[in-house]
Symmetry: D2
Subunit: 122 residues, 4 copies
């Protein structure tokens, strides 16, 4: 059984609307992803396996319906660097009953900041 | 200037109510904290400096008004272990204008799971 | 060019024998791997993509010739947990010129500790 | 009892000279430190508590005799960033019986790389 189907687990979220719950779970997943994987050695050689591993790991989290991770920036063939938060472009879809929230983690030039925000809630 | 006072930054959150925003930021901070610090070498000797460092680090995050971190479990004098998510007991206060959300990260015995949830929103 | 072929880089290691260098680089890679990935959400669903991503990421590190990562322990189909250091079984091969060191990260029951050690140097 | 005094533990290191052991343990500690703390939210406000917490955490690791951590770079009063590996300047002293190794983690301009190396072994 997935933990989000557990009655005890559900009991802890009765005080939230579906929208609130969706953005709460989305926030957790974005914060978790960033702080788990920033620092990982990265080059063109392991870019794709790391993108897939991040997606698959985060699909375990409650209410994650779908996630797409792209590592952006100029990676070189023979050199590696550490994954920087500014290199993450993440699209996250969270589902709580009939409510779907679309979230994003993306570097915003004007802010010089890797921003986590909610694109829309349906 | 704190980033949450930046007009460009604010623009990204116009589609959220204060309550939604508060639980979103709270979720980010709890997910970030867990995945940043789990794995840290921990013993009775560094328990308190680590608790303070986690609190002070997370106070940088947008909308964090206050945070209390306790590392629970039986630590020994001469032995160390890796910080486990189940050892974290965190009380987090998030403020968005007049809205205050109180969040918690705490191991729940019945679930065998370190749960992140919202205690109340005022 | 790989960083280990850079002359400036090489200059920093002239004070080490090939054996010392090999175990130094091996130590870095094992310490890095453990503290980067512990905490990652893990279930049977993402075990294999995470194992491959850890291997591919660590192959970027200087002098890593080969690496095999196995995540051990009883993972369940519908439940996930956080990757614990005790779940890591890693075989690492480090090459410095003609010297090859075989290193291991493995949970040792008698020690109740995920031990990093050198199996042999050739 | 500290783990490095355990006879079972010691048995795993009989194949290493004291020098090899010292640089192996030093490598582990530097790799661990980097990948544990990179990504942590950092500003002038929490620089010192984080430096102390990193030092105290790593003093738990086997054979760590002393460690000094400085977070370098231009931090601002009201803005925060994520701790980058290039911001770490670490001096580490490892002791194995009568052998003492002095290690360093420091950003090297010419390499554009946060280098881990051995300054001297006595």
């Amino acid at each position: 059984m997935k933990i989000e189907e557990d009655e005890v687990f559900k009991g802890y979220f009765k005080n939230l609307s579906n929208k609130e719950r969706a953005v709460f779970e989305g926030g957790i997943t974005l914060g978790a992803l960033f702080h788990q994987f920033v620092g990982t050695p990265i080059s063109v050689k392991n870019k794709e396996t790391l993108e897939r591993a991040i997606e698959d790991a985060m699909k375990n989290q409650p209410c994650v319906e779908d996630i797409h991770v792209k590592i952006v920036g100029n990676l070189k063939e023979e050199e590696y660097t550490s994954l920087d938060g500014n290199m993450l472009d993440v699209k996250l879809k969270i589902k709580v009953e009939d409510t779907v929230a679309y979230l994003r983690l993306k570097y915003i030039d004007e802010l010089n900041y890797p921003l986590m925000y909610v694109e829309k809630i349906e």
